[in-house]
Symmetry: D2
Subunit: 278 residues, 4 copies
Amino acid sequence: MLLLSCPDQTGVVATVADFVWRNGGNIIDAEQHTDEVDGVFFQRVEFTLDDFVFGRDRLPDAFAPVAERFGMDVTVRYSADRPRLAILASRAPHCLVDLLSRSAAGELPAELAVVVSNHPDHADLVEFHGVPFVHAPVGDDPAAQDRTVRELLQAREIERVVLARYMRILSPEFVDAFPQRIINIHHSFLPAFVGAEPYRQASERGVKVIGATAHYVTAELDEGPIIEQDVTRVSHRDGVDDLARAGRDLEVSVLARAVRADLENRVLVRGGRTIVFH
Amino acid sequence: MLLLSCPDQTGVVATVADFVWRNGGNIIDAEQHTDEVDGVFFQRVEFTLDDFVFGRDRLPDAFAPVAERFGMDVTVRYSADRPRLAILASRAPHCLVDLLSRSAAGELPAELAVVVSNHPDHADLVEFHGVPFVHAPVGDDPAAQDRTVRELLQAREIERVVLARYMRILSPEFVDAFPQRIINIHHSFLPAFVGAEPYRQASERGVKVIGATAHYVTAELDEGPIIEQDVTRVSHRDGVDDLARAGRDLEVSVLARAVRADLENRVLVRGGRTIVFH
Amino acid sequence: MLLLSCPDQTGVVATVADFVWRNGGNIIDAEQHTDEVDGVFFQRVEFTLDDFVFGRDRLPDAFAPVAERFGMDVTVRYSADRPRLAILASRAPHCLVDLLSRSAAGELPAELAVVVSNHPDHADLVEFHGVPFVHAPVGDDPAAQDRTVRELLQAREIERVVLARYMRILSPEFVDAFPQRIINIHHSFLPAFVGAEPYRQASERGVKVIGATAHYVTAELDEGPIIEQDVTRVSHRDGVDDLARAGRDLEVSVLARAVRADLENRVLVRGGRTIVFH
Amino acid sequence: MLLLSCPDQTGVVATVADFVWRNGGNIIDAEQHTDEVDGVFFQRVEFTLDDFVFGRDRLPDAFAPVAERFGMDVTVRYSADRPRLAILASRAPHCLVDLLSRSAAGELPAELAVVVSNHPDHADLVEFHGVPFVHAPVGDDPAAQDRTVRELLQAREIERVVLARYMRILSPEFVDAFPQRIINIHHSFLPAFVGAEPYRQASERGVKVIGATAHYVTAELDEGPIIEQDVTRVSHRDGVDDLARAGRDLEVSVLARAVRADLENRVLVRGGRTIVFH
């Protein structure tokens, strides 16, 4: 699969399609998008490799001349690959439980390699699912914990990180170590109610709709590219606890959809925004 | 109908129900809500007056002892009353057209007394519907126009004002003249994207959902009590124009629902938030 | 708490409120509904018993004269009661996993007494949560299995039964043993796509929205009173598998909301339809 | 723009892209879909004609060899074309008013050539918008009215027909005269509640969600390919009148989205189902 972006110009679609076809691939899905404001063309081309004339290792090199000609930024991914995934969690179990269940049901094209938590609470549940659990307590030295977790993920060759209501702010070093590879779930409709206690803020403002937002993590807190959002209606009857409970259900479904989109290589990022192909 | 709020205490429901029943009314709908954080009780009691032992004019006085006993803040409304309604509009026609159609279809329990606009564009359409139209241009003196419109509404004994995408900020004097009687439609999911050009802001932030918010107008811009909100999903494919078009449909439906709730006396306001009974 | 229905007539609200108040209760929530077509009045009155003048056992008798006077059908429930709940499941784990998690998180006001399945698959998971699991295989004699399960639930004094994608049709004797006490989740927007394989039917008809329906089980298959429904948008891109996956998420949330509404005593049934108070 | 379908096979995407590029076009949008069950490939390719080497009249002939080679079913459309549109209405104004407003606002890429109604009610409104209105009463001879309307549309060279709550069943001859060119709005979530009075049916069944469905009209009543559907939540509080009012708003928005999708050439039909590209 090719994920590419380049300055908008004529001939890109034809040339890419021709490249695939001439080398024995068959395009099974192609989506494109042109950002007319910035003049950028994006494309996701999924094709079979069964009859491809050269092995998958040589694909990037073979495509390089095309990429160079159009000034493309290209990523090559293979649908059959299952990236090594880590989940970071704290006390709240809902997102963790959901991801464990989906992983067990085969809904996530990834290898769930480890669950790390700053609390010991969910060790049994994680191990019940046959997934390694690591307890990384914060203790007196938050920076040391952050470093420990980062090194642990690097040692295990983790390729994607999901923050399943992980209640720690990651250091810039941590974020830099996994560029556009960390997905967080924020319990509000960003950019409304940035920061802590969004349900309390929502209750005080008297909103009629609450939301949840899944986004890639960047150095700027709550400012990373949004992958998925959704909302649910609430009313004056809902106290802060009710908002929190409705919000948990929303967090579960929004995070699951974002993680799937990412693992299925359907997300491109540019300029702080995402393009999420279907 | 009684709309009441008071400190939460025992006996309120029984006493109010008993008052209605003993005087010959029949409760056809009653909804209540207790704000447990602030300890406030709210109730909306709708009852028939056909067999009431005294005329509707004497109802407030007759109820006064009950209100005093429980420290109630009481509003008496009559379902049969149709408040005099004014719509303020500018160039964008969508909310105006919708409200005119709903008024013509008998969906709004109000007398649509006048449409005022700072532009002459929609005079023909408004008059086609048999509603007086007044053109109040801004010219060189915005304060004078604000005053002119306010005095015009007061002279016509207007009881509710709907800002149907009216692109003027009302003066504090204007707002004070119609306390909790002015409904505005804001083209974002407040409190996100406060201020001008919310669709441009939404596009730049890359949100996956856009919203609209109907609220009572207070002296603080975009801060009044929210009556109704709703959202619609968008994607990277939607440019600013697409967001604006999807947003217009949302504005129409959110504003219509808020205006109906208000005219049906289903909205209570307290502490910057609303209670919207069904 | 009183759940009552009676022919619509004057004085019911006042009399019930007076009964509660005079005996030392404080109404904390009351909702009512009048079905104007059939002339029936429904009410749910929740009140404190702390200062009640007689014990909870004597409440039904004390209220009997009021019930008789108005021809009421009355149910007395206690918020503090936690009915004994059984879940029946088959191979599909999603609804079962969700209910186990919610039960563990304290979201369900019930005592989860047993999980019964016609397959052994989920024994470990259920027991991990500390809930008894019974495997009741169908074998050669489906009627015997039906009877075995029914007797097992009766022996364990089960008060509510949730069919969490249980792939067996219950016998009339089973249904009669738990009148309005069995909740099923059907994987379509009933009454569309009655019967087996609704996702295949939906795919073939080319619908743009799929749904799920939670309902009480009656002797008529797929015809019981609907408690909750919801839908999600789909498109031509979604094959039968995608519809099934989207549908599973919908089934989970619709069933959970229905079970909560039932356990919180917010559902009244009349004439094949439900009234679900908030 | 090319709308095409053909048996799924290798080389289609590349060949079409190459055809466009070699002849001077630039692809600005391309979407494709493969129906894996039936083995059919669908594509919508939108491209500029500014630098095309031959005029638009010769495009179909030039593309014919490609179409023949792959066994394609091809439609050529031009974004700049504005098909001649007729609206058929009866007494209910809501869909008609909405389409007139959208047409006036420039939201519909069509020339609104005539509104025909079996009632005279909306003549003034239609003429206010500068659109010809024809009153075609049914009288004693429904078949004659059906023929009159059909001939009228043919005489005016109408290319698309929208039934905006037109309360007549079209004859097979009428439907045949505009194959896949007539869009109807049905006031239910088809296939639930087929036939007359769906809101009454919905109320009696006690559903918690109501819907509306826009579809192409075929000889089989309520069975044509679905273009768009949507739903809204309702509750026991909503009587038949409330369902009808909520339904009207739904009908307006669903019909408008379907008409736009059709006019923007985003809909392909195959085997009773639609593919609606974005």
